[in-house]
Symmetry: C2
Subunit: 523 residues, 2 copies
């Protein structure tokens, strides 16, 4: 497939007229062809008009048709073959095995949502049948299902060029819910985006769906992004990126005549607690696991362990010492973009002004290479210095040294909202951990014991979310099958004749759903 540098508005390849975006191979700092010219308001208008026109048809596709569509997208992405892998490696500097794994996750995610769509639990069907004889007033027949919100704007993430980009988690869950999707591609991987978008558009065509079910736009956040979020036909937004970017989108969405929900996954430093008995017993092993998690993918994960919390002492010294030994020979790693590398350098520099450098990896020997950093600060400093809580996207982490369990508690209460919190503990730590859990439940979306927060499973029980600023909406997850719920709303049908009811609510339950029927869950 030859890359064209075009946007995709429905089935139509359209060239933008704004400034050209070219991907840069961060490993060599060289630009990649072709140029992608940014779109403008007119392209947003056309994509929104198509999405709106497609909505009523797409949202009433059968469960089977919609599931098949998701599976067809996965098939078409796989059919892109090595071209996709090579382009994604070139655009991101990520190693080939990582991109291969991410393609697997992306396609697996689409197929998982297909299963979720077929199962139909997301419809949350509730039926309360009529009670015409009830005193003092009869009860009407009332039936509830969920319907999709409407067309969704998705902003691709920089750090998952496949799994959280054009056909990633936000897109998959919105399409599963029955929402047309307009993706604004991330400027860091336009070629990868074009390839995946064409696979997706082929699936739209193969499944005979209205073309407006999917469009891909390029362009600036200020022009194309804001026009998308402000368009009255867009009814929800999915975003993964910076705190400032997420807040700007949320504010724009709230300023509309009709405000809409924004699901922004933004900022998290993912505290890791090393409890005393565990630290005493296996400081070295913990340091090893920590350094592996910290440096994986150049630390460019939302769930990167950016904070370690432990009580001062010889065991913590051992942990830091081993981490230093392991980190010092770590080669600097190519980061995703020159911009991300530059922000990382600035962030590390800022941290160095407020905390002590405990260890650093090898210096860079090529462009855009991030050097891993480990800092140490006292809890008293952490509690009074907000700079120490700022996310530094990359392989940087801060050890917060606490005097005692009470200071651990204070540091925990002082934390902002997080995607994850991790507890390393042995049996002797269980009582202490139990005391901390209520705080951590209030602070984070996912709590882990004796693991590392990087690596997010796509499954039913996953929560990739959490209180602000981890996300803009703690009531949801952006990874896992529950992500579909972000794009749905309930509608109740009262005293409808069967012929006018949607299939999910008909008297004979043709979809074989386990309804909540007169207060009882059907078997």
């Amino acid at each position: 497939m030859t890359l064209t540098g075009s946007m995709l508005i429905g089935q139509h390849a359209v060239s933008g007229h704004r400034e050209a975006i070219r991907a840069i191979n961060p490993a060599t700092d060289t630009p990649l062809e072709p140029a992608y010219h940014g779109g403008s308001g007119e392209h947003v208008e056309r994509a929104c008009a198509l999405a709106w026109a497609a909505f009523d048809t797409y949202r009433e596709t059968s469960l089977e048709a919609r599931a098949t569509f998701l599976e067809t997208i996965a098939d078409h992405i796989e059919a892109l073959g090595d071209e996709l892998i090579e382009r994604a490696v070139a655009e991101t500097g990520l190693p080939r095995p990582r991109i291969l794994g991410e393609r697997g996750r992306t396609c697996g995610q689409l197929r998982t949502f297909a299963r979720t769509v077929r199962a139909g639990e997301w419809l949350d069907v509730r039926v309360d049948t009529a009670q015409p004889e009830r005193q003092p007033l009869p009860r009407a027949d009332l039936r509830q299902r969920h319907i999709p919100l409407g067309p969704v704007a998705v902003f691709g993430a920089s750090n998952f060029p496949l799994a959280f980009s054009v056909a990633g988690g936000d897109t998959a869950s919105a399409l599963a819910a029955g929402c047309p999707v307009i993706v604004k591609a991330h400027g860091a991987h336009p070629g990868t985006s074009e390839l995946v978008a064409r696979a997706l558009a082929q699936a739209v065509k193969a499944c005979s769906l209205p073309e407006g079910v999917f469009s891909l736009l390029y362009g600036s956040g200020r022009e194309v992004g804001m026009a998308l979020v402000s368009d009255p036909r867009i009814k929800a937004v999915g975003f993964t990126g910076s705190r400032s970017g997420g807040i700007a989108l949320t504010q724009a969405a709230q300023a509309r005549p009709e405000p809409i929900p924004v699901y922004a996954e933004m900022s998290s430093i993912n505290p890791v607690y090393l409890f005393p008995a565990a630290l005493q017993a296996r400081a070295q092993g913990l340091a090893q696991g920590f350094v592996t998690s910290l440096t994986q993918g150049a630390g460019q994960f939302c769930t990167n362990p950016g904070l370690v919390i432990a009580i001062a002492g010889e065991a913590l010294e051992r942990f830091i010492g081993t981490a230093r030994e392991l980190l010092s020979p770590c080669a600097a790693q190519t980061m995703l973009t020159p911009g991300i590398f530059s922000a990382y350098s600035v962030g590390v520099g800022a941290l160095a002004g407020h905390a002590e450098i405990a260890a650093q990896g090898l210096p860079a020997d090529g462009p855009n290479q991030g050097r891993a950093h480990l800092f140490v600060a006292q809890a008293s400093a952490f509690l009074t210095n907000e700079h120490l809580q700022a996310e530094v996207f990359g392989a940087a982490s801060l050890v917060v040294v606490c005097a005692d369990a009470e200071e651990v508690r204070q540091v925990s209460e002082h934390l902002e909202g997080q995607l994850t919190a991790t507890l390393h503990l042995d049996e002797g730590d269980v009582d202490e951990a139990r005391l901390l859990l209520p705080i951590l439940e209030r602070k984070a979306g996912r709590l882990l014991v004796n693991g590392w927060p990087t690596g997010v499973e796509v499954c039913d029980a996953m929560v990739h979310g959490g209180p602000f600023p981890a996300t803009s909406d703690s009531r949801s997850t952006s990874v896992g099958t529950a992500a579909i719920q972000r794009f749905l709303r309930p509608v109740c049908y009262q005293d409808f004749p069967d012929t006018l009811l949607p299939q999910a609510l008909r008297q004979d339950n043709p979809l074989l759903l386990r309804r909540l029927l007169n207060g009882q869950r059907e078997a």
Copy 2:
């Protein structure tokens, strides 16, 4: 029970220092004792501190303990006996049978939420067990439950002094979710609020719960209301009232360092469609049902039928003629407060400047009596004049006369978001109705056939919600058991030892929940 004029901060009766609020009996325009002095920032601070202190304990009460608490509240409200009924009648001007019915609904609602709490489906438990042998990577053990958001601020509604006030739907669903509640009483019924608040506080005590589970404050929206919504310990807001009030609260909640969700139920004119065959066959009967629904409770319902949409012709003339005959002898009815009466008068006056008066009820013969009004306008006017779509809270409605089905469609697309949309149809109308349904599903939370929108059943399938401006969050309902979901968020536990897991997630499933276990729903 002697009314004291005090707020209730936890178990403590506290007098405010701000300007006195006195209820006014709207039927006689006379003030009622005692005076209720408004609270200030210090009272908000104390109530929030107590609520925050209570949260971690209250949210981990057993399902049985929490359900019993809700039932105990209902018992204590009933035990208030006639004093509550008389005070509510005096403060609202609503007839005694209506208040009796509303008490029944309020207590029934609390007991319904008790059943919901016990059933435990709201926990949405999902378990994906470990797969240590999985290739290329093992899967961790992942378990999800829902936990409450935190303390909730509830703003009582004017028009439901019991069912949507101190112990009404917002409070009941927040308490059911495990959230402490701080109510800001509506100034129109402070005595009713005090009585119910004391019953609720007694239930807190009887159930040995931390006192901060519930507090009642009086005062101005600008001072007490804004302080509540801005307090960092408040994590969600429930509100029923005006569009401007709801928008102000939502903006304040978004402007916080940590934005929080606001569930504001605001403005709806509840379109009623009279399809041709139904109108032809039973114009008079429809007019009768319409006038009954319009004038019930002086039209002071969120679901009052404020808009009638039909195609021009002899049958519609008959409908309007009969409505005129029935409406003209209708006595003016006392409205809830002088302020609401005044706003109604202004709203009716404004409508009269843009539409023709088709009928009006008898003039007032006492203070604060709203005179029912029916207006008529052409669809072409409705489509171009936003004044015709403004909610007039009270017994006023507008008939929009359409030239044909296409104009009905245009009017429908032009509507703002609604709580309800009603279709009156006969068999011959079904095909036409089917074409309109996709639009109405996009516009409203509840669709009715051959009924009237007033009268909202508290059940599992109810949706009392809808797109903006009907509510600030269309993804939820404020009436019915699904309302509990507004105050919850998911948390995932990864590789937790059984002893540290909450009961709902333990391996042996002690709460006997129907979990989603490895993708399968348990029987």
